[in-house]
Assembly symmetry: C2
DNA sequence: ATACGATATGCTAAAAAAAGCATATTGTCA
DNA sequence: TGACAATATGCTTTTTTTAGCATATCGTAT
């Protein structure tokens, strides 16, 4: 058997940001648009946009800086604050995953039922 | 903001046992019946029974020992193996929760965005 | 002016998970 | 034998989550 874990950040009891979405936000910044990031994750623009909107609303500050119109139709990337936030959450989450896995192995080694 | 975590055990990619259900199984053993345990958790007998059935099926061994008929209609409690399993999972899970909380506090102390 | 590509949203539909309803079965005891 | 309390299941309904469709807006380059 294996252990599985899921982590997320909440603010005032509402979900702000979990594992899957940090990757999406990272892609937005890397690719320069929500559209491209959504494509990369195989999700609709509509869904990605809605998710980002909810994250910002619950976090209480702007995370994605979007511009619209122009030659390429517009674009998006992370605000300075947003980038710092995503980076920290991402690092925290992967850190925690590692800890959990390690701890599980310690315990399961001593128990045939795990 | 706060960190939240959820842990569960899987077997061959299927969910076996998570946080909420260890408590249910504990109650079954303590109270001597699935019905009483379900009541305590405010869930239907149907739901509790189904959950237990699924857990056993996925774990691959018998966890609850039920008897039916008789003066009190029947009853249930954990098998020896089931009890050992639940105890270990329960202890692992609360252990992990504590670790996560602790780690989060360490990290968040250094960062205004968390 | 017009076309283009991306953001910005409302609304609908489909899929998954949880809850609830109904009913049969079982074994002791009065 | 009949009542009782709990197990054992099938089915239906509700709720929640997720996905998809349609459309308006915006600003540069042609």
């Amino acid at each position: 058997m294996e252990i599985k874990a899921k982590f997320w950040i909440e603010n005032k009891g509402e979900v702000v940001l979990g594992g899957g979405k940090t990757a999406l936000l990272g892609a937005v910044d890397r690719l320069g648009s929500i559209q491209a990031a959504a494509d990369e994750f195989g999700m609709s623009y509509r869904h990605a946009w809605g998710a980002i909107k909810k994250i910002e609303q619950r976090a209480g500050f702007k995370i994605v800086d979007t511009k619209l119109g122009g030659k390429e139709g517009g674009g998006a990337r992370l605000t300075q604050q947003g980038k710092a936030f995503v980076d920290r959450v991402d690092s925290l989450l992967s850190d925690l995953s590692r800890m959990v896995e390690k701890r599980f192995k310690q315990k399961s080694g001593k128990c045939s039922l795990l």
